[in-house]
């Protein structure tokens, strides 16, 4: 290169200590803030979020479902992900978690884990575990909706990592589905999940909850319906309680995978709590959220009951799952 030449200093445009948008902050901005804060174009002009005719399909959609949402806040960009996740931090963290899961799968496979499972529990897995990839797929879609409509880039990114977590569990359940089919042919693994999800009574409450949450297009309601209610119900019933039942039946692998999935769930809950906390700082939001909870909680409780009733030897599962969901809402100040 040409570093021998010294060029005249062309002008005086002194640099800055940090982005001008963060100049007023007291603390030194973190890498997370530098790379995440205040990046949306669509929140710029409420008349025309997108740079085209103000009444195009997408402008109308955004104005109706985001700008005019009953959930309001003067500064959505004030939201911060408590985990301060950047892309690099996310891939590093999940590479570590996936390595751990690889290890779990290998150990159990070497020990002939699947072949040693009680026959009745194998049927329970076919009925109650492997159809779970549809719930993860619904979570992927619900999260993806938040990504594209959220009114702050800090919310968008938290939702995007949540979406990726769902994809993670679609993938791991798919892996397990094939592995279980390999040691237990004729139990409906691989071939039977869709029918289970669509018709088995155990799944119908969950499916109704998720389908309805997916068409809650107001961005605030979409967040409350999925992040506050539906995701939590699915986790407590189809992950935690299923994992506990698995342990009781000697299925340590399903139990440990459930534990690992609950780590992703815990992270989702942390940012959900942070965003709900931000919402509640605006008085009018409390009634708005309460209204939505009134609509969504009965569906969720019913979904939990229907699923947990099918869990073998788990008479207390439904109550425990509902109590855990209620506990989460209490933490959020919503009880």
């Amino acid at each position: 290169m040409t570093d021998a030449v010294v060029f005249p200093k062309s002008n005086s445009r002194p640099g800055l200590k940090t982005w001008s948008t963060l100049a007023g902050t007291r603390k030194r901005p973190s890498e997370y803030e530098i790379l995440t804060y205040n990046l949306h174009a669509r929140t710029r002009d409420p008349q025309a979020p997108y740079e085209q005719d103000p009444d195009t399909m997408m402008n109308s959609w955004y104005k109706k479902h985001v700008v005019a949402s009953p959930l309001t806040h003067p500064d959505w960009d004030a939201f911060r992900d408590p985990d301060q996740l950047t892309y690099r931090a996310y891939t590093t963290m999940q590479d570590g978690q996936e390595q751990y899961v690889d290890g779990l799968l290998e150990d159990h496979s070497e020990n002939g884990h699947d072949a040693s499972l009680p026959s009745a529990w194998v049927d329970a897995l076919a009925r109650l575990y492997t159809p779970g990839r549809y719930t993860a797929a619904a979570g992927q879609m619900a999260s993806a909706y938040l990504v594209q409509v959220a009114p702050a880039s800090t919310i968008t990114n938290a939702a995007a990592f949540q979406e990726a977590d769902c994809f993670r569990w679609i993938s791991r359940i798919a892996y397990r589905t094939r592995e279980l089919a390999n040691s237990h042919a004729d139990r409906g693994f691989v071939t039977g999940e869709r029918a289970r999800f669509e018709t088995d009574p155990a799944w119908q409450g969950i499916r109704e909850l998720l389908e309805k949450a997916l068409v809650a297009y107001d961005w605030g309601e979409a967040f409350v319906a999925y992040n506050v209610v539906a995701a939590r119900a699915v986790e407590e019933a189809c992950v935690r309680q299923l994992g506990l039942a698995a342990r009781r039946h000697g299925d340590t692998l399903t139990a440990m995978l459930a534990d690992n999935q609950m780590k992703d769930a815990a992270r989702s809950r942390r940012w959900t709590a942070a965003l709900v906390g931000q919402c509640l700082a605006v008085e009018s939001n409390r009634a708005v959220i309460a209204g939505w909870l009134g609509k969504w909680l009965p569906l969720a409780d019913r979904a939990i009951d229907m699923f947990c009733a099918a869990l073998p030897e788990s008479p207390a599962a439904g109550e425990a799952a509902k109590a855990a969901c209620a506990g989460f809402r209490r933490e959020l100040g919503l009880a």
Binding site: T36, Q52, M58, R88, D95, A144
Partner: protein, 496 residues
Amino acid sequence: MAKVATRDWYDIARDTNWTPTYVAEDEMFPPQFSDPYGIPLAEWETFDEPYKITFRDYVQSQREKDVGAYSVKSAIARTEFYRKASPGWKSLLQLHFGAVSFTEYGSVSAFARMSRFARAPGMRNMANFGSLDEIRHAQIQMYFAYEFIGESRAFDWAQKAVRTNNWVVISERHCFDDIEHTRDVISAAIMTNFSFEQAFTNLQFVALSADAKKYGDYSFATMLQTIQSDEARHAQIGEPLIEIMLRNGRKAEAQKLIDISFWRIWKQFSVLSGVSMDYYTPLEQRELSFKEFVKEFVGNQFLRNIQALGLEKPWYWDEYFLPDIDVYHHAQQIGIYLYRATEWWDVIAGVSPAERQWLESKYPGWNDTFGQVWDVITENILAGRLERTEPKLLPMMCNMVGFELTGVPGKKWDVRDCQVDYEGRRYHFGHPVDKWIFEQEPKRYKNHMGFIDRIVRGIVPAGPDGVFDYMNMGEADRGNCGENFAWAESYRRAAE
């Protein structure tokens, strides 16, 4: 028991469609987002991504990629490098980071729309990686820009551009909002993944990376390369969709999507990459001319791809696109230099005697056309009449592209102004193709105020600083001549 091979479970992870019954199918997948073409679900479910990767392998390979990309040089070494870099290279970095970072971030949401509304589970999964990739691209570029923020305020624009009404940014938003963000996911994917990413990102991320390597900017070169490796993967969402469209009698629609988006993206890249490569990159480090890069990446590769799919080259290819490669960015370069105060980066003339010789050799006829305008600019600078190099008159701007209306000046003066009168308003276009795009769907584009429209209608505040205030450009945000006019001195020496 051994590990289950990926091929044995991969299909299960993209067998995630169920039939909703508690809500209507059209409510869960509204046609306006999911499929305005009315193609049967079973057809969409044949979607097969050519490039397959699992979540597990993705997080591992991406983590490793970042370990490499972030650590080519230390922050101190990079700042040192920047200080010593030539004005042209500095300007190129300032322009790149301000113009590119926010469009990358925008793409996060475009892919998320696919992950929500696409009927094909494989497409939803691939788009999920796409959203993650675009977070990566926004963050790594902002990270590198941030290292230079102490050196020049221009790098603030890597963060703030998106929220401003700077005229360059309005132009970018108008284009990318059109093709990526405001259509159903099938159309948006064909326009974004096929026309934009597969056809054009090579220019900014492979060709520019070659220049960067030659210049010795290894951090920038490596960063660009790793971005392109992600682009090359998620860009492949486009082709299978086109195949499905064709199989279902929607060839004309697919063709039109490509014709519109290819031109829209061309205009953006022509200016961004064209000016960077043919004027800002120091002469000794230019790998190829912009035109040569376009011929290779777009003229050959894109054309091959499109024909392999059974589509035609865009209708304007021979008549308008090929000639435009010779002129558009040269014409825009003049306006960009003159209106430098309205841009966040320091502009570079790039027309010293040696550079003009190179331009003439790569673009025969350049001297007799664009060169004539530069003759006048050069004379004014040498005579100390700098004020004459900063026009006070408002330019006419294209209501589609958002850039100045330009043609070929000099001996073959030919400024095109195509007009459309629609619902009582006159729209101006820089090119017959821009006008054609407007006419395909006037409802999409009408009532949008271009930058000049906003001035004329008083949306931009009056007064000498009104335009700058409107663009959120304080004094220190405004671009200067990156060489402080030293380039013109070489003509004085030559004359003496």
